[in-house]
Subunit: 144 residues, 2 copies
Amino acid sequence: MSKYDCLRLDHQLCFPIYACSRGIVKKYKPFLDELDLTYTQYIVMMVLWEKQECNVKELGNALFLDSGTLTPLLKKMEAKGLVSRTRSTTDERNVIICITEEGMKLRDQAVTIPAKMGGCVDLSKDEAKTLYKLLYKVLANVEK
Amino acid sequence: MSKYDCLRLDHQLCFPIYACSRGIVKKYKPFLDELDLTYTQYIVMMVLWEKQECNVKELGNALFLDSGTLTPLLKKMEAKGLVSRTRSTTDERNVIICITEEGMKLRDQAVTIPAKMGGCVDLSKDEAKTLYKLLYKVLANVEK
DNA sequence: TATAATTAAATTGTACACAACTTAATTGCA
DNA sequence: TGCAATTAAGTTGTGTACAATTTAATTATA
């Protein structure tokens, strides 16, 4: 029992979150490689598969990412033919990201990924639900 | 209810882990800025405050990081006077990272950080313990 | 005991993240 | 209405991450 115990790695909550995050993203890699997507590109696609279009700001709000990350990412995705980027005519500050047909097609390939990943993470339904709730609680506290 | 529901962002476990990780690291920033440490440098220091010295491989095992990340990081920390880097004489493949007196001194400043961060994350003792256990369970599954 | 296999770091190249700043468009208010 | 404040993207610079490869040292074995 030392006054430095609070600085032990195994007394942190942040460290396993950080390590899990990287570990899980690494597990996604082989599955996402088949779609030629990175993890960040994949979560952008998730938003667009649902909404078909939204501006950079909305995308950033959904993913907790800013334009410094999204702008270069979206340019790459545009180059790959997954999305289009168009200035809004009603408010020229906004850039509207629109999923292409090509991008929409990827959805059918992606649909098998969550089950494969579920196998990697390997928690019971109850454990997954508990973890989910706690993470969103932390996220709410941290993002406010 | 669509067959694409599994691709919704709010049906993922990975996304809140990823978002939490980035959100928490961002919360650390003002505290770590006072010590002139990044988050990754901070967790390296955590290992060294405990062990005083270890090689790059051991550090990587503890933090789930490889030499591609650690080598440049450790060179920066050496330049700041926090650690020394020495080839082992018994096995010249190993580089031994040793915390300096300067680095050891930082521990007294760092000791207040965990409590401050606890306030940000703001979970009950039970919630924190549950979250901790589930994260290490996921981590074990993901890293094997 | 030479050499093949393994191991530990380092290097190279790519892809985020994000702070801080810039630019251009829109809003709000004196 | 005109200008200050705000807002949305984009840009710049720094710092991780990590895959893939290279280099050098050690170990194992034919």
